[in-house]
Symmetry: C2
Subunit: 291 residues, 2 copies
């Protein structure tokens, strides 16, 4: 227990320190992953107390640049959005690689493609399945939110399983309240992560979004990458875009944050891609973490 490894804590979806969503990155590149117990990684994620802590390893998939394992204080995740961007940002700083346009991240969900452009990182969704919800469950989810839902909620399976729906506009989304106890029960019964609610700004291609996962111990996530992916997939389902569409998302205002997300739905050679990105800033650098 006397070895140390490099450590960073990165703010994601912002260029202003403390206004985004933090993720802790423990750089285990020089350690043999098989020598580290799962329980140790879980204990560290409990101890940092952040929504996610990630562990960076050498890739085992030769197509990938690095491997990441993502932990909440409760469990290991297959994939998560803001930890993917924060870990890629940290990987680029740790490795000193410059002028790179594409990075491939190995994680439990598979290889995730990341693009670097104009100081912004974005990832392409690997899993973007949608599943309709029974009318009984739809009614229950509707009761969890004080504002009327203006679209039918759908389940988007993007790693986390988010139930997504729209409300009237951005202001309605910002102002609405949530019945956390009811949502905890409904999400647990349905086996989902929680709800993503968004409302469009009247005069621009921009949405106000909020993410709730009380059953997973996160009442409201300040800025949520997988939630943005779920929203993009949902908008394609509802609006049936037949060409590429870009939009912005603001999130976290109710929690004192100012998260800024860039989303893109690309149509290319018959296939549709979903891309979620934003800026990152390393707030804690050069840390040495005792592991």
């Amino acid at each position: 227990m006397s070895r140390t490894v490099p450590f960073k804590q990165v703010d994601v979806f912002t260029s202003t320190p403390y206004k985004g969503n933090p993720v802790a990155i423990v750089n285990c590149w020089d350690l043999d992953e098989s020598t580290i117990e799962q329980s140790t990684l879980q204990s560290i994620a409990v101890w940092t107390n952040l929504s996610e802590t990630t562990f960076l390893f050498k890739p085992t998939n030769e197509k990938c640049d690095y491997k990441v394992r993502i932990f909440t204080p409760k469990a290991e995740l297959e994939f998560a959005g803001h930890p993917t961007l924060g870990t890629c940002h940290a990987y680029l700083e740790f490795s000193g690689r410059k002028n790179v346009e594409k990075i491939y991240q190995e994680c439990a969900l598979g290889a995730v493609e990341l693009t670097i452009k104009d100081k912004k990182l974005s990832f392409k969704g690997v899993k973007t399945d949608v599943v309709s919800i029974s009318s009984d469950l739809t009614q229950e989810y509707t009761k969890c939110v004080t504002a009327p839902l203006v679209t039918e909620p759908i389940l988007a399976e993007v790693g986390p399983h988010w139930v997504v729906a729209l409300v009237e506009d951005n202001k309605t989304c910002f102002d609405m309240e949530i019945d956390y106890e009811l949502m905890t029960k409904v999400a647990a019964k349905h086996g989902t992560t929680g709800m993503i609610i968004a409302g469009k700004f009247p005069d621009s291609e921009k949405y106000e979004m909020r993410a709730f996962a009380p059953a997973a111990g996160v009442v409201e996530d300040p800025v949520c990458g997988s939630g943005a992916l779920a929203l993009a997939r949902y908008l394609q389902e509802v609006k049936k875009f037949d060409s590429s569409y870009e939009f912005e998302i603001s999130q976290g205002g109710r929690l004192g944050r100012q998260g800024e997300i860039k989303a893109a739905i690309t149509h290319s050679e018959g296939s549709i891609g979903y891309h979620i990105g934003g800026q990152c800033i390393s707030v804690v650098n050069n840390g040495e973490f005792l592991i």
Copy 2:
């Protein structure tokens, strides 16, 4: 927003990483305190997401070695136990001072005396007032805990305001459940921080302790220094020791921690002192924090 200051994250009340209670220390020694907004310090404490984040400054009281300001994600505190030990530990490492026996910490509650002995740090309680509780409120607090209280609860004002009581033994304390919703209401109504419940091990001078502050956003604190101070003060009130008494406290087992606290009640020249200590270990070292 481009300056950086030294940063550590210290585990308190343990010598085993991740088994104690973490505190983040932002070393602002070289900054002019008047140039840093209260809102910036509060934003940082929200962002780290720890129960406490501390900011180390040059002392303004010439008797003291350093000044600390202590923030939860919700507010600034006059005093807190584990952040005091963690900050003193970090101060000693930052300053490189060795072979020191006494350190004086300036904080909003006044000058706190710390003693270093056998690799353990301890602080002496500055404020240790006790106040009896009305029978109506006593009944309400009693209902918050599933195990019967075997002593009358008393309010100990030690910085935080803890309502303290004993249950039958250590096992009862470990196993009991809490009605968080009720406790949140009762604590808010009474203007207190929460409850400290302890039970004695049958054959040793050791207590199992648990600390609950749901109204302050901390459902159960893993290892609580001010709670230990409140317990020591309470035991003096209940047991009327007429000479010095030392005891140990274990805490955090229900949360996967193994906190170890050393407590001492000293009688000297007619005055009674309360001392709370334990080991600390810096898990994140050499960090550079963007402030």
